[in-house]
Each structure stands twice: as structure tokens, then as C-alpha cells.
Symmetry: C2
Subunit: 295 residues, 2 copies
């Protein structure tokens, strides 16, 4: 099945199951709004691509891993958009969750999405109980303290931001989790995919930094120019647009070099090349929403 | 080991492991503040009491279940205290997390505590992989949509609150999870403990409602009289203090009647009687913090 359809179908099944009956109606609506329509879904795509490269023998478990990674990503967007963080009014071209449903339901929707990520894994893990613990640990690590995206966001509340740890936590950690979870779901050695996932994530972050400086908010469906006033590290602000494009090319090359041995390595190489091409295009011009890094 | 020491030691180990190295220092401090010093820790106590009644053959797994339940409870307190919900300045006798660390770190600390709950279970689950999936599902169910404490809080954002569903979700769901998780961790039939857990939770909620009307904020370490102005259902407001005390007695009797067969049933009966006595005392007089339901 086409990865886009596969991801949307799996996400839809999970959100519908939680909200179709008995749920508070406005929270149910907020959960749908937080997850659909999606952005580029690059994290679950990475998860599926790695699983496919490892043979993908348990596609339902792979789907659960991809869904878990995307749900915690959606949760982080809902919370990061809150007035106490970015106060973003727009997300994926629509009003952000708290603008539509208010802050209380935005906080609760983010919380629920985090829980649902682990619930999804737990249900699908019945097919391979020996892999479940590691899968949960990997997704939790990508999200939590000290190295995950929650820690990444928290570095912004410190008087001094350690740039390397911040970048790794804020974005690369969840890409790493996506890649490792894809491998684990396929019964492969997850650790072999850590560096690869990190590098894809680092490249994505640089492309996103460039778009924060050069992008068109109407094409991206979210505000731009936010990093400088919020005092957040941004490669394009630090290195200039030219320098950051060069860094992006280097990181994409490094990602390609770090694809570990697996039964369908050439397919994963192709996925990296195609993703690289989209990120580089996004880094070169005012992008159309289809190509661009979109959270 | 004494349950109090056992719970505090297990919680401390989990929080220290996440925060001792590399974590953003203010987030680390917020996590400690959110969990220590604790309240009555009644949910993890319930979890340990049920596991003990079932023989408790894997105490580390039981500890993880108790920690998971308490961490998600602490997360819910941190988020419920936020200005967009209760705007509570005081919790467990100290300034609430957002009053000390600001709203961004309060949101992130709550998020991190939810993730850490599942991380704790995943790590300990290596000792019994066949039980891990069910344990995660049970804790998630107590927390999530449609029936858990997140849904319970979300009912407060609806124009009309269905009182039975609200009460069950807002408090009883996590007590149910604590009881079922304790049984599962001990290799017992978790479902047999659902009704028992619910009834303990319903009794606790009524005792808490009475304290919201009659309690002393300095003894309780949190504000009182919040339910009426916030439009929240409260048994003592609905039935009067006398009527709600009667309901509390009924619920405690029902909890005792619903203890299912287990190898050390008499110990669990004793636990229920002792807990009932504390809750009834709390419902009868301005309580001291030791006896009172304390979140």
C-alpha cells in the first residue's frame, strides 16, 4: 500500500477508536483537528521506509510504531503552539487547536495524544510481546527527559541554550525514534539505525530553519520568522542562508552514508535521495506546501 | 518493606534516573517539585495493596505499576493547576509548579511525567513481557480518552456535564487502573479488580468533595471551595454535607463487598477498612493533612 494511504488509514483508525463513542465531544473534535489534515508526515514515513528496508514482516506493528511517532509529534505541535510557548495562530494552514477549542482542550488533547501513542503500541505489541518493551522505550526516549523533544522544548526555558544538545533533542530525537522503531517493529537491530535517524532529523531541522527565514507563510501553513524574536537557535540565522544550505547538503550526504546494512538497503537509499531532493528544493526556493518540511 | 518507603524509593529512582544527567536543569527541578513531597499517595498504595493480596511475586514490576499510576496522577495535578484550568497557586502545601517554574515548564513537566510512566513500565516489563501490553493498556485507559482522567477533565469544557460519566472518568478511572495494574503485575486476573478499584475511587471522590466544602486549606495544602464557582459537580454541594457523608459510607461498604477472591484477601479487606476509616474521618471534621484525601 502507498505509504500516504497506509499512514492516514492507521492514524484514522486510532483516533476514531478513541473518539467514536462516549468521549467528550469537544475533546474528540480537538483530537481530530490536531491530527488531520496532516503535514508531510515525514516521521512516520521514515519509520515505514526503515521497516520496509528490513522486510516489514509485521506490518500492523510497523503501522503502530509509525502512528505512535506521529501522534507524539502532533501532541508536541499542539502544546508548542500554546500562548505560553509560540502563541501560534496557524498550523498546517488552519487555526491552531487552542485558537479553535481554547487552551484547556489544547492541553488535554496534547496529553491524550501522548497516551494514545503508547496505547497503540501496546495493542499492536500483542503480536510480538518480545519487541514491545523496546518499542515503548524507544518512542519514550524520543519524547522524554533528558534527550527527547520535551527536553528540547524545555531548553528554551533555560538562560543559556546548549546548541548541540538542543538541536539533537528538539528535532533529531524523534527522527531517531522513528527510524529505530521501524527497525525494531521489523525484528531488526534498532540501534544500527540510530545515527541514520539522527542525521535525517538534523537535515530536516536545517531545512526548517531555512524556511523560517525565507519561507512563505501561506504556502507553509504556519508563521515564519519566529526563531529570531523568540531567541531560538536557527542555522539560517547563524550561518546565513547560503551557509545553511551547504550544511543541509552535508547532512543529507551523511544520512545517505549512514544507512546500515539491511535486506532492501537500495530502497532506503532511494527514499533518502528523494527526501533529500525535497528538502533541498525547499531550502532553495519559496516552496509549495507539498515539497516543504511541514510540521 | 513499608509501603510508604517502597513508593517513595521507587518514585525517587525513576525521577532521579531521568534528571540526574543532561536534562535541562529547570525542567529537572520542576519534575522533582511535581512529585516530591507527595500527597497521600493513595493510588500507588491501592496498587501495592492489591498486588500484595495476590502474592506480589514480582515486586519490581509492582513498583513500576505503582510508580506509573502516581506519575500520571502527578502529571494531571500539574496540568489541572494551570491558569487555563483551576489557576491553583497551592498544591500539597507548596506553590504549584507553574507558580514556581512558569507555565511552559509546567506544561512540559506534565508531558514528561506521562511519558515516564510508560517508560517505567516498559523497563520493568522485561521481567514479564507477557504482562507488559496489558499493563500499559490499563494505565493508558485510566488516563486517556474516552474513559480516563483526561476525558474527565475535558467534560468540564462541555456545555453540559454528564455527572456519572464525569465522576467515573475524573477520579474513579485511575483508581480502577491502580487496582487492575496491581493485580496484573502479580500475574492475577486484572479484570476481577475493576469494580473494586472504581468503588474505592468513587468513595475517595466523595470524601474530596466534602473537603472542598468543609476543609481547611492550610491543613489540606490546597485551595478549597473551588467546585461551585467553577461549575463542577460536587456531591457535598448536590446532596449537602450530611447526604454526602451517607453516600461515602455506602460507597466504602460497596468497595469492601467487591474485593474479589485472592490469596490474601483478608489483608486487602483490612486495607479497605483502614482507608475507609481515614476517609470517613476526613469527611467528619476539619482534617489534619495526614488523614485527609490529599492529591
Amino acid at each position: 500500500m502507498d505509504p500516504t494511504r497506509r499512514i492516514e488509514r492507521a492514524l484514522r483508525a486510532q483516533i476514531d477508536a478513541a473518539t467514536e463513542k462516549d468521549a467528550p465531544p469537544r475533546l474528540a473534535a480537538a483530537l481530530h483537528h490536531a491530527v488531520f489534515p496532516g503535514g508531510a508526515r515525514i516521521r512516520p514515513r521514515l519509520c515505514l521506509a526503515v521497516a520496509a528496508a528490513c522486510g516489514d514482516p509485521l506490518p500492523d506493528l510497523t503501522d503502530a510504531a509509525a502512528v505512535a511517532v506521529e501522534l507524539v509529534h502532533c501532541a508536541s505541535l499542539v502544546h508548542d503552539d500554546l500562548p505560553c510557548f509560540d502563541d501560534a495562530h496557524l498550523r498546517r494552514g488552519l487555526p491552531s487547536v487552542h485558537r479553535v477549542f481554547g487552551e484547556p482542550l489544547a492541553v488535554l488533547a496534547g496529553d491524550a495524544l501522548i497516551v494514545m501513542a503508547f496505547e497503540t503500541l501496546a495493542r499492536a505489541g500483542a503480536a510480538a510481546p518480545d519487541r514491545l518493551g523496546r518499542l515503548i522505550e524507544v518512542v519514550a526516549r524520543g519524547l522524554s527527559v533528558p534527550h527527547g523533544i520535551i527536553a528540547g522544548q524545555a531548553w528554551e526555558s533555560e538562560p543559556r541554550i546548549p546548541v548541540v544538545a538542543y538541536r539533537r533533542a528538539k528535532t533529531a530525537a524523534l527522527f531517531e525514534a522513528a527510524a529505530v522503531a521501524g527497525a525494531l517493529a521489523a525484528g531488526h537491530d534498532g540501534a544500527a539505525f540510530r545515527l541514520f535517524g539522527q542525521r535525517v532529523g538534523e537535515a530536516y531541522q536545517v531545512a526548517d530553519d531555512i524556511l523560517d527565514v525565507t519561507g512563505d507563510p501561506s504556502a507553509l501553513g504556519k508563521p515564519v520568522g519566529r526563531d529570531a524574536p523568540l531567541g531560538r537557535p536557527n542555522a539560517a540565522n547563524d550561518l546565513g542562508v547560503h551557509g545553511s544550505r551547504h550544511l543541509l547538503e552535508q547532512l543529507l550526504g551523511a544520512a545517505l552514508d549512514s544507512v546500515p546494512p539491511c535486506s532492501r538497503k537500495s530502497e532506503l537509499d532511494t527514499w533518502v535521495r528523494e527526501t533529500a531532493s525535497k528538502l533541498l528544493q525547499a531550502g532553495r526556493r519559496a516552496p509549495c506546501a507539498q515539497d516543504a518540511p511541514s510540521h
